[in-house]
Amino acid sequence: MSNQIIQGVLLGGYYALIACGLSFMFSVMRIINLAHGSLAVLSAYALWWLASRFHIPPFAGLLIVLPLMAVIGWALQRFLLERSARGGALLPILTTFGLAIVIDNMLFEQFGADTRSLAPFIGSLSYDSWEWPGSIYVGKLAVIMFFAAVVLLGGLQLFLSRTGLGRAIRATSEDPDTAGLVGVDARRANAVAAAIALVTVGLAGAFLGMRATFDPYAGTPQLLFAFEAAVIGGAGSLWGTLIGGIVLALAQTLGAQVHPQGFLIGGHAVFLIVLFVRLSMAGLSLRSLFNPPSRSAS
């Protein structure tokens, strides 16, 4: 059993990776990007294409794909989200949903329905494991993934609290108009935030491809996992995302023990339970799960 718990915790690292971009983008721009999962799958396909076509190993491929994802994020914010956000809070949901459909089906058009994996391109890493005391075997990849998540979340935290650009992004997320009045270019801050978010998405896509298989329509479950982990973790803090990811993964692991179909059901169920508990505890005053407290300064 302890073996399963450890596997679950490590899987939580992956969920934290995929969730942190979603919740980061929401906390800065107040947009839930429904194309989030599809973009992760896009990154996985890009790596797969580089590996199978040009023999570029996935970890090296990241050097190409991650900057590309940053550019996509920047363009996404500048050309789509900025415009649709001006039309109210609901429009970006529709825009990003439309984008998800476009990405999914373009991938299908390009790569067909076959499931792919990056596992064949990372050699023994996909199945190697370390033996821990108590004859527990942990996959090397899972451990790398978990530490990547910790490093990423920690790095993001440091960036936001210690650098001028990070402060500018936080100021924009609190109050974009006032940010402009103190000299922050809110549009640029948002575009940088979107670029950073998509770099994390790209990384999550890489790990998705390495630890499992994916197909053109694999974006939907990734989006739901990301959302669930972010909400369970109480998306205010980045570390909450890690906890949310771990809880989600443990619930799935537990669900799989109970019933062969239980993996996904367990995850969705724990999400709804957390949601229900949090809503009934917060009472009617709760306006939003994602929203950090009060935006007004007085």
Binding site: L34, L91, I93, T95, A100, I101, T220
Partner: protein, 353 residues
């Protein structure tokens, strides 16, 4: 400032003509199968179902401000409960409507949790609900996982009689649901709905029952989409969870409403017709067809967020099926320099529903 007394009107001359036209169209549609091929009857049935889907999603998003990406849950449940009821021995045609009622009933407790979520959270939260429901339905022995099952009891009816019955049922369901929505929007709830659509916080502050009104729309949308799912099952007989709980249904709804005109009664119907035509002409293009739908949705959300009907309405002040009031008043226009210009007659429309 000279105060001109505003004129408040409900219908316009055009809208009275439109009202008659609607009655004539419905009557014509009722007799249409006499002149249509079997295939055309099936296609028309599909159109009626699309209109229901569009109108119901529009009721939720356009009027209630609740954008859901998980409405396929009600579509799938509509079909699933119909299968279950028919399996329990209920007449399959009756089962279609009983199923819609059950779906509506199920949606009520669901609304207690989901309506506390805002915007994007609600959207994706509904998606989680749909995914979970799909998995749970798969567990039902009768459904046999993704293998699915069929509405076998419908096979006792002769094929052409079955086709016609479903056609009329779909037409009647569409007409009834549209009439309910129209009545709701024109009645006292309508004012509340429009107030919420325009500004939720302001509506709440003047005493509009925001949550109650939203719940009404949520349950109505669930009921309507449940009926649509059951009708779809009746036309296709087979039930595969993967098909019915597919997010694609919501994608269609969003496409229809976004193109037609979100928040306008006529827009959803127009959107459904446009979608129906696109599907008829380009549906064979496979993946590119879906890419095109997604891209069109993106472009409309960016450049024509009011959709076709919203834009037409704005441009020409056209109002076919007025669900609100409009106030026409004469106002003075003051130019920047402070010189009063000639009083101009302007129509201020506070009604776009």
């Amino acid at each position: 400032m000279s105060a001109a007394s505003p004129v408040i009107e409900r219908g316009t001359a055009t809208s009275r003509i439109a009202g008659v036209a609607v009655a004539v169209i419905i009557a014509l549609l009722a007799f249409a199968p006499q002149f249509l091929s079997a295939g055309a009857v099936d296609r028309m049935t599909a159109l009626f179902i699309y209109v229901i889907l569009a109108a119901m999603w529009n009721a939720l998003a356009g009027f209630g401000g609740l954008v859901s990406v998980g409405q396929q849950v009600f579509f799938g449940l509509g079909a699933y409960f119909a299968i279950r009821l028919a399996d329990a021995g209920l007449n399959p045609f009756l089962a279609l409507f009983a199923s819609g009622i059950i779906v509506g009933a199920v949606s009520w407790p669901l609304s207690l949790i989901m309506l506390r979520l805002r915007n994007g959270e609600f959207a994706i939260g509904m998606w989680v609900i749909a995914a979970l429901t799909h998995l749970l339905v798969n567990l039902d022995r009768l459904v046999q996982g993704e293998t699915g099952t069929s509405l076998i009891s419908l096979n006792v009816y002769d094929a052409s009689a079955r086709r016609l019955t479903i056609y009329w049922l779909a037409l009647a369901s569409m007409t009834a649901l549209l009439a309910i929505l129209f009545g709701l929007l024109r009645g006292s709830t309508g004012a509340a709905i429009r107030a919420i659509r325009d500004n939720e916080d302001a509506a709440a502050s003047v005493g509009v029952r925001v949550t109650g009104t939203k719940r009404l729309l949520f349950v109505l949308a669930a009921f309507g989409i449940g009926i649509a799912g059951a009708l779809w099952l009746a036309t296709s007989i087979t039930f595969q969870p993967k098909t019915y709980f597919n997010v694609q249904w919501t994608a269609y709804m969003i496409f229809m409403v976004l193109v037609g005109g979100i928040g306008t009664f006529e827009g959803a119907i127009l959107g459904a017709v446009v979608f129906f035509l696109i599907e008829t002409w380009f549906g064979g293009a496979g993946v590119w067809y879906l890419v095109g739908l997604g891209a069109t949705a993106v472009l409309f959300s960016l450049f024509l967020p009011r959709g076709l009907w919203g834009t037409i309405e704005e441009r020409f002040g056209l109002r076919l099926l007025p669900v609100g009031y409009r106030v026409r008043l004469a106002t003075d226009v003051v130019d920047p320099a402070g010189n009063d210009t000639q009083p101009q007659h302007t129509t201020t429309d506070r009604e776009t529903a």
